[in-house]
Symmetry: C2
Subunit: 372 residues, 2 copies
DNA sequence: GTTAGCACTCGGCGTCGAAGAGTGCTAACA
DNA sequence: TGTTAGCACTCTTCGACGCCGAGTGCTAAC
């Protein structure tokens, strides 16, 4: 991991180019790099190095007489090897940046899914990119903590289940008017006994028999109730997708073309695609970065995705992703997600020295200091 | 209402101009109007009439040598007097337009708020404009149909309330670990007796005393539970706002300026503003049209809003609004909302001849036939 | 009251050329 | 051998210019 094909000077130049490009979104020329205070070579030297970097595939040129811009390979090397996460890992949002959201995250004691949604809003604001939150796990690995049937009116009841992470699902049940509240209570108690404590994926339809037998209520009457419970379970299995700050996409000049912007916004509305996009990355527990065409969704080739998955006691409770242009401020995004991770998992940000997220093992570049 | 300042020819010309402008979004000239099959005057005559209409404030000219475009006054006259709603009122979406959504609306037996949301999606697709759905009424006029406290785990419970329209609100409660399920049941039963059947607005905090007394549980222990119920009620009072098809805004050329589009999208994300916007119009039970600056939100001056409010047995359950450019296809939007109204309120669209929505009393223009 | 004709206005669009930024190459230098 | 100054070349950006067409208002004739 330490030995790679770039010598120290090339690394510094590559990092300088990418930093500059991320900031200004303009092809960066040799002169610009040369003028940086930490760069003591003439434009001509830089030019030679940049030509090399282009040949190696880290940089490209939009046209002959323009500066260089990073290629996907360049970005990948940047986030893997050059990104000085320590630059930003101590990142603490200002009071202004947090505004009321901080309080809401802290004081929120409700469902985990709510907290993740609120956190996603925070991330979007901190980074100025679009953020996508997924709560619950797509596989049915969450356990059911509680289950109850609530009588509403004759012929109508409500099935309620509470899952790990305190997320709540409910479903309105239409049933025979002859079923009284007492019968419902009996069924409810039976279902609760049978289902509570089990994982969502373990529940199967033939449990209807057991409920019917144990409660002494005819199968036909129990049916709609179990149906309602299954409806809840279906809802629990389809992860909640929440998109925050879609409008921020329009702020970035790479999407000033309305057609492009429209395409992106339409994709953002496709909950299924977004769920896939984010879930695909959530295998590991840490941060994952997908650059440009590394993510499989067509139309997102000019975008990067950074995701962070949050688990408590080994149970995945949600994932927050940031979606932005390939030319995104990776350090800031990583820092924001890391900050939020500490909040969500209850770690005090002042306690232990924060672990570096797994995406990267730092090479020994020491002098990469962020500009601005 | 029959006598107004425009003679028949002026009306026809005005309608023709607006119809054409709605379709092509280009200033329409006298020649264009003159060429229409139902218009038997020379361009010069039309020009004179158009000059009159401009003087009266119904039309404007972007610049000296361009055609005319409708002013807000012109649109207002159009929707009030010229719109031949019968053109479209028999509107029935094609199978393709409905796709799977129709089925979902029909078969949906769950919460009213879900059905309104789904209907809103349908409206957005049918019209190709952005649609905003509000479920529940902003005032607390809905009654509580059922209420229950569900024990989740030691120290944690869930408050659930079901409102008219079957919308469900819940809130996780943190409570003293010493409270067992039986105590909770007692409190739950008491709360249910006290609150069920009442309007949300009637519930007040001092009911905590009654609950405490009647259940024989100390005030301090009852407190968090009642708090949870109040949390539900708070949620019930703030109407659920759901925006659908925001990306469709970008399809309309008047928003091809990214700055404008961004402004609009940001407004769309402001749930409070959208709630106001839609609620403001929902006084009456029928359709309401707000043109351009008639709606008070700054930044929506170039937009129009059409809303339809849905009530069952006199209880307002939700409102669906369509937000689009001032130059919107009013007949289509009105027809789509009307179609959905019939669906949501359970009317069979083939039964009674559909009532015309209240917005308009037709003037006796008979020959206005839509083009294309 | 309606229409044909005509001069006039004004935005849209393509062309052209200057300006500027950046490159690659060569030759000189340490 | 690595670095740097100089220079010719390339390519985009941007404003100026001018033509074209659509549409108007006015006048005069029907």
């Amino acid at each position: 991991m330490v030995t790679d094909e770039l010598d120290d000077r090339k690394k510094r130049i590559l990092k300088a180019v990418i930093d500059d490009y991320i900031e200004n979104r303009e092809p960066v020329g040799s002169r610009t790099i040369s003028k940086r205070s930490d760069m003591s070579f003439s434009p001509a030297t830089i030019r030679n190095e940049m030509a090399d970097l282009e040949e190696m595939g880290y940089l490209t040129q939009p046209h002959t007489s323009a500066g260089r811009i990073p290629s996907e390979k360049g970005y990948r090397y940047y986030v893997d090897q050059l990104l000085d996460l320590k630059e930003r890992i101590g990142f603490e949002p200002t009071a202004e940046e947090l505004s009321d959201v901080k309080l809401r995250v802290q004081r929120e004691i409700g469902e985990m899914s709510d907290r993740i949604r609120v956190a996603s809003e925070l991330v979007s604001r901190l980074t100025d990119y679009t953020s996508i939150a997924i709560s619950g796990s797509a596989d049915g690995s969450l356990r059911i903590k509680a289950l109850q049937i609530v009588p509403v009116e004759p012929g109508k009841a409500l099935a309620v289940i509470v899952l790990e992470g305190d997320s709540v699902k409910n479903s309105v049940i239409q049933l025979d008017k002859s079923i009284g509240p007492e019968t419902l209570m009996k069924i409810s108690a039976q279902c609760s006994m049978l289902f509570a404590g089990h994982r969502v994926e373990e529940i199967s339809l033939n449990m209807i028999e057991s409920v019917s037998e144990a409660s002494g209520v005819p199968r036909a009457l129990v049916m709609p109730v179990v149906d309602g419970i299954f409806d809840c379970i279906r809802k629990a299995e389809s992860p909640g997708v929440h998109t925050e700050g879609a409008a921020r996409f329009l702020a970035h000049p790479e999407f000033s073309d309305v057609e492009k912007a429209k395409g992106i916004l339409e994709l953002l509305n496709r909950e299924d695609l977004m769920a896939d996009l984010i879930t695909e990355c959530s295998g590991s527990d840490g941060l994952v970065i997908r650059i440009g065409s590394e993510n499989k969704i067509e139309g997102l080739n000019e975008c990067s995705v950074v995701t962070a998955t949050y688990s408590v006691n080994g149970v995945k409770l949600g994932t927050i992703g940031v979606l932005g242009p390939t030319r995104m401020d990776y350090p800031r995004v990583v820092a924001a997600l890391e900050y939020v991770r500490r909040r969500l998992t209850g770690e005090n940000e002042l306690a232990a020295p924060p672990e570096l997220p797994q995406i990267t093992e730092m090479s020994e570049v020491k002098d990469g200091r962020g500009n601005s």
